[in-house]
Subunit: 234 residues, 2 copies
């Protein structure tokens, strides 16, 4: 069965708890973060995802769960610098970190390095009481790499495999989610992200196997979702 | 006079000393870094610009001047984390750092923050004996912001104002260089970067006021440059 309804939220209450409300594009400005803080509190989105420099200020004015991105969007910092970034983010008030894997290292065939990165950072984030997601940037990887790196995340105990940064050649695809879900089994968390703008796209990501999704246009998704659900329910 | 020949390299020896040979795209892989190390030594480019995680390994196999990028390409890390990244890069063997300014902060009108970032990081990098460039990402800024932030770099003593990351909406334009040069006067270093692929583009950047440029296709530029110079000399 390719698509399934086991992860499909059935109500708005369920849906909002599965959306990470996200502001990462520099052009949106801090005013977009302020607006997203209000929206996250108003609608009860799962978390607010913002750039590292904004975490401390946002944590001072919001009680929403805050996540930030590490070595974003290329993942090209040394492993121990990623740790320093995680440490600072948690100290500033983030309770989850979305870490970009070293994409160049992955594409250079250095999979032992990628595995070390995933193992060390998972253990480090968890020791600080923070959740951790690993962003693969699926648009840059072939299916084989997506599957093998997803397995590394699952084996290391990383909380979520996350597809995309939103700054790469493309965002999440249905195929990405199917490949990742097949690789990691049913229990591993998967976050679909990048280019998810409509209620129907959101529904398809859940049906393909995503547990949560990241979006800037969470309000539009929320509004369109009931109709998508009634018209296209798997 | 819009264009001038005062900064135009007249020979290949002069030209190569004005090109930072650059490998930053994850898709190019570490093999591209190895190739660029050889090319930098063979042709005598000004410096080799590579991602932070690759500095230590490259410094172990090359005597070329190595530069790396900090908080690249969004510049959205807190100022003190950028310092930690600079410290580590220099410790690993980089003698220059190309730091992305906090683009979101700039677009949010937080220019005091940007000024503090520029002042603190310049002083920090210089205290470690390293050169520092500030990448503005001109494609995201209007002419007024480009001019005012360029002035901050000049006043802080930053070594170069650098136009673009190569990952933004566009690369360096002739207009960018003219705006920056007008804002900072004749003595400030300017680096044109992003999308510079031909000998003629390189020539125009120098004629508009750039001191150096960054490119991945440095070999092509080097080969095309003499003809551009003979056909289009300002």
């Amino acid at each position: 069965m390719l698509l399934s309804d086991r992860r499909i939220p059935k109500t708005q209450e369920e849906l909002v708890k599965r959306i990470d409300h996200t502001v990462l594009k520099p052009e949106e400005g801090f005013q977009a973060i302020n607006r997203a803080i209000e929206e996250t509190e108003k609608y009860g989105f799962r978390a607010l995802v913002i750039p590292p420099w904004a975490v401390k200020e946002a944590a001072g004015i919001s009680r929403a769960k805050i996540a930030t991105v590490i070595s974003f969007p290329l993942g090209h910092d040394p492993i121990d610098l990623k740790k320093v970034q995680v440490e600072r983010a948690v100290g500033d008030g983030a309770s989850e970190v979305d870490v970009v894997i070293n994409i160049m290292a992955a594409l250079s065939g250095r999979l032992e390095y990628i595995n070390r990165e995933i193992v060390e950072l998972t253990s480090f984030a968890h020791s600080m009481g923070a959740g951790i997601k690993f962003i693969l940037e699926t648009g840059s990887l072939n299916a084989e790499l997506i599957a093998s790196i997803s397995k590394m995340v699952a084996e290391a105990g990383g909380d979520f495999v996350k597809t995309s940064t939103g700054f790469g050649s493309r965002g999440a695809s249905i195929e990405d989610i199917l490949i990742i879900r097949k690789a990691v089994g049913e229990k591993q968390g998967i976050k679909a992200s990048g280019g998810i703008r409509t209620g129907l796209q959101a529904l398809l990501m859940f049906a393909a196997g995503a547990d949560i999704l990241g979006a800037s246009g969470s309000i539009r998704i929320m509004k369109e979702y009931p109709q998508a659900l009634s018209e296209f329910k798997v």
